[in-house]
Every structure is written in C-alpha cells, then in structure tokens.
Subunit: 337 residues, 2 copies
C-alpha cells in the first residue's frame, strides 16, 4: 500500500487549515480513497523547519505553531526539501507574489522537474508561468494542481475538469474576489465606500494596502488562470480590461437597487471565434441574475458551455480551512487518478 | 491504446443526446482524456436493435432514428448484449420504473456481475437497489455511475465525490424537480395551479399523469439517491415525509411574494447524530436564500459540509443533451480513474 509523502513549503493559515483537515480526516481519507500519507517536511520562512523521512506528527506541529514555537533550524533549503526521495506531493502555500512568483515559483519548478506533484493556493506561479509549469509537469509525469487559486475553497477548476468533463466553456462570469463583494454588500446596507473598506480591513478581509483587491488585480489574476485552464488561452494581465470599485459611490449602489439591480465586481471572459475578451469591472446585474444575490465574502462563478448552458456554483470565498479543502481535493484527485 | 466498447440499452431522448455529444466531441474526448470508443450495440424496445463487434456508426444510427427507421431485428436480448466480450461500458437509458426497476435493473445487475461498468440516468434501479448494485459492482471490480439521476445534467454526485472530496455533508437542500419549479414560477407570474400544470404538460415538462412530479415522488426518489451517495444512508421512500404542490393556490404564492419570499418545492436531508431526516415539501424561502432565485425548469442543490459551509450549484434541470452530458462525465470518470 502506497503511503504518500507530503511536504509543506510554507505553513501559514492555509497550510495549517489543510493540516487540521488531514489530522481530523486521516481515517476517513483512508477508508474512502485508500489515501495514506506521511508528512516528510514542513519548511517555513519565519518559524523554522522540520524534516523527518519517517514522518512528522501534524497535530504536534500544529500545537507547537499555536504556541509560537520555532520548529527547528533551517538546515535544508526548500528546493532541497522537495527533492528528498520520500516526498511525493509538495504543498506550496508560500505567499502570493505577483511580480516574481517567488519563493513559490522556483520550488514548484524544481519539484515538478523531479517528478513530484505540486498542489497550491499560491496565485503567483500560476499567474506568471502556468504554461511553463504545465509543460514541465507533463514532461516529467508530475501534476500541478491549483484549485485553491480561483475561488478559495469552492470548486471551480475541478468542477469544470471532472464533473463537467466533455463540456466546452464559451463564457465565464464570476464574483471571484470576496473582499470587494463584502465592501459592495456593506455599501448596499448603507455604508459609504471608505467606511466599508475600513470595516473590511478591520475584519481582515482587506489588507492595509487594499489595491490588490479594490483595483481588481486579484480578480484579474483569477481571470488569467480561468482563461488558461478553462479555455486553453494564456493571456497576460495587461490584456485584461480592468476597472476596480474604488470609484463607486453609495448613490451608484442605491440607483442600481432602485432599478432592481445590484452592482457587482464581475470577472468576465468571453471566447468568440478563438478570440478571448477578458475584463474585470463593476456591472449592474438584475436581481434575477444568479450572481446578483451573491452577498458578503462569498464567491461564485457561472460557466456557459455547449452541453450545459449555464451552471453556477456559489460558495465560500475565503477562509483557512476552506482553502485547505481545495488543496485536499487536488491531493485526492492526484492520488485516485 | 484502449478502445472502450459502448453499449446502449434504450435509445430515447437521453441516449440520443449522449450519442450526439459523442459524435460531435469524438476528437476532443481523445485529445483531452485519451478516450477512444466503439459503439458495439444499440438495443431498443420499439425501434429494434443493432450489434456489430467492430463498431457501429453513431451518426448513421442517429440519422436513421430521426427518419423513423427500425434499426434491425432483435436477435439478442439486452442481458446477452451486455455480456458481449467487446462491451466495456453499458449505458442504461431505459425508462424509469419505480415499482420494478425493469427493464433496467436486470440488465444492470447482469452487466455489473460480468465486470462491465454501467452509467445511467434511470432512477428505478438506483431507487430500488442502490446498495445491492454498489455491492455487486465492488465485488466484480466494475463501476455503477448515476450522475444523471439527480439533477439531470448539472453535476451533483460528481461535485460531492470528486470536486469536494474529503468534505462531510451534513445537510442537503435542493430544488430537484424541474417540472414543479416551472409550475411554481408560472404561478408567480399570474397563473393558477391548473393552468400552469396544463402549460407544463403542453411543453412536455409534465406528463399526462403528473402525480410523479407534482406529488413529490420524483423529488423523493432523488432524496433517496442523495442520502445514500452523500451520507451513506439507505432509506426507503416511505421514510421520506412528502408533500406535493397540488394543494397550492395562487394566493399562497402571492402572500409569500408580498413577504419577500418564494415558495419552492424543497427536498431536504439533515443528518444529525447518525440519524437522517428526509422530506419533500413546499417551503417559503426568503429572497436572500440561494435557492429562492432558482426559476423555471432549473435545478439547484445546496450542500452544507464541515470543510466548506454552504456550496450551491445551479444548472439545467432537464433536456436531452444535458442529461447526456451527465452520462458522459460518468464515462470519463470511469475511463480516467
């Protein structure tokens, strides 16, 4: 019976979320999917690292991290770690860096080149180098999986890839950024933009420098990933028409509501005669539109296909365990195929 | 390279829908999933049968059926057909019979016993004998897949099984019958129940004897299938509390609307301390509920799980090609695992 060797590169909120699910579900994962695992290494930047080819205890690691303990001295680089012979699946949960993709990009390349599978929620490598990474994976019979980069925990890539296998996707519309959707929902409830943003920052949804969310960069990166995975088209960020929500006033929101519409930051990709038109922009959607009722930090995506006209999935757009669940579904997909 | 031998038992709307997709997507299915197929046999009750171990032309068959031609004399029974050595996957698209499960049940059992995989949209065998069929399949290393029995083409089973693998489902709420949802939508638009039903019958959504839909039997069967697949609980139809929509008046619908609610026929399953509570009943849902905005012949299901709180999928609830797409996703799942 194969015992799959796991290696965490990074161990922040998402990594810990996955680790908690793995601890809680260990027996169920075996009985349902025949999946047995050993945690070979956890490598972090600020909390040290620990490696044991015989397997580490994830619950002990979680406990130590919760008590702010350092895991151990970093005697081995991330690139060396993923090459350990016991490692089968690398979990890249390093922070997203949209400029360089590092440190995730180098680790991911090295792992795939050595035939290790990689699962990730890190949007940097997927945004900057998806075509390359998939090519390397294909050449080395490894798999690169990144469900957690699009709708956090809510399945989008695996929905299209597996559950809707055989459909051609011609159009995608989505609410793919929970922070801006939370701000827009609070503006509907009476706040002005600045106050809604401050509240989102206080709740940890928005960062101190909120541009990545409110100017539509995060949504644009997701558009990039969606276009490549769903439609096989690799587009760069500058080819995506992008308007954020920071110019919206409460009176715009109210005007839409008075016309039975809601303003949403909509990521949209249309494929027409082999050409791709991609945009992120505030759009006023009638109440009857399935995306119009998606409120708060929830995400949703509507896939228009040939065999199934419109399929919409709505689910959590953020959260530690939710994104951990996306990584788990990728791991199970690798293990069972 | 494996060429998968297919065998259609029945060749009505859904079977023809799948056949059209297979013809149209043949090259894409090969390039995306490495899936090559040969159609070994098509066996029907009223249009005759045709068998060729070297492979039949599906487009020619579709053309003949469209011109009301008889395929050929039935020299071989469905049970004999599925045992032909060239057959790998049996497509059971015989009509649903909730009393005996026949003719689908016997064919399905025989096929699984002989190690053939079965994909189906026929709710009869799944309602009457799912536990048995899955046991037979497991004993003979064959697979029994029935995505098309729940939300027609919209993925529900494969969403939970693959895309949300690792989640425990604790509660399911759904709009799982397109006919009743169409009638309720038309009543909101001003029709009385009897007129909305007549319209649904004229459009082919409702049958001449509409009890299966309007009294909630169809929804109850789907509740059965959902409980068994999602929660591992096999319940009989009599254990499902069931109220249909035939007692609803337009004034009930209007009253709900005046309170910002919509009446929907909701299938619900709650798991609590290992016990299952299952029901089908009209429920008044506030506009903010994700199922409230699901109109017309659309289906939807909300899965409440441990790792992902609420995930809702909304999509087409009927249609030939849509249900054919569900069968195709099951075939691809078998072929790629």
């Amino acid at each position: 019976m194969k015992v799959w060797g796991l290696c965490f590169i990074g161990f922040g909120n998402v990594g810990q979320g996955l680790a908690r699910i793995l601890v809680r579900e260990e027996e169920n994962l075996f009985s349902h999917f025949g999946f047995r695992f050993k945690t070979i290494a956890v490598v972090t930047k600020s909390k040290g690292s620990r490696v044991d080819p015989n397997g580490l205890s994830l619950s002990k690691l979680l406990d130590e991290i919760n008590h702010d303990q350092i895991l151990g001295p970093c005697t081995i680089t991330p690139e060396e770690t993923v090459c350990l012979p016991e490692v089968d699946i690398v979990i890249d949960v390093t922070p997203t860096n949209l400029k360089s993709g590092e440190p995730g990009l180098s680790v991911t390349k090295k792992a795939l080149q050595r035939g290790r599978h990689v699962v990730t929620s890190n949007k940097g490598p997927a945004s900057l180098a998806l075509k390359d990474l998939l090519k390397i994976a294909s050449e080395h019979k490894s798999k690169y999986r990144f469900e957690g980069t699009v709708l956090s925990g809510t399945p989008a890539i695996n929905l299209a890839r597996e559950s809707m296998a055989g459909c051609h996707i011609t159009e995608v519309q989505g609410i793919v950024n929970g922070t801006t959707n939370y701000i827009l929902t609070r503006m509907e409830e009476g706040l002005e933009y600045d106050d809604a943003l401050k509240e989102a920052q206080a709740l940890g949804y928005a960062e101190a420098n909120p541009e990545g969310d409110v100017d539509g960069w995060d949504a644009a990166v997701k558009v990039q990933i969606i276009a490549s995975v769903f439609m096989g088209k690799y587009i760069s960020l500058k080819d995506i028409s992008r308007v954020g929500i920071s110019g919206l006033k409460r009176k715009d929101i109210e005007k839409a509501l008075s016309q039975n519409e809601r303003i949403k930051l909509v990521a949209k990709i249309v494929q027409n005669s082999g050409q791709i038109f991609a945009s992120v922009a505030p759009v006023s959607l009638p109440f009857s539109h399935p995306l119009s009722g998606v409120n708060g930090a929830t995400n949703a995506i509507t896939l228009t296909t040939d065999n199934l006209k419109d399929v919409t999935i709505i689910g959590p757009g953020a959260g530690r365990e939710e994104t951990g669940q996306a990584l788990l579904s990728d791991i199970i997909s690798i293990v069972t195929h």
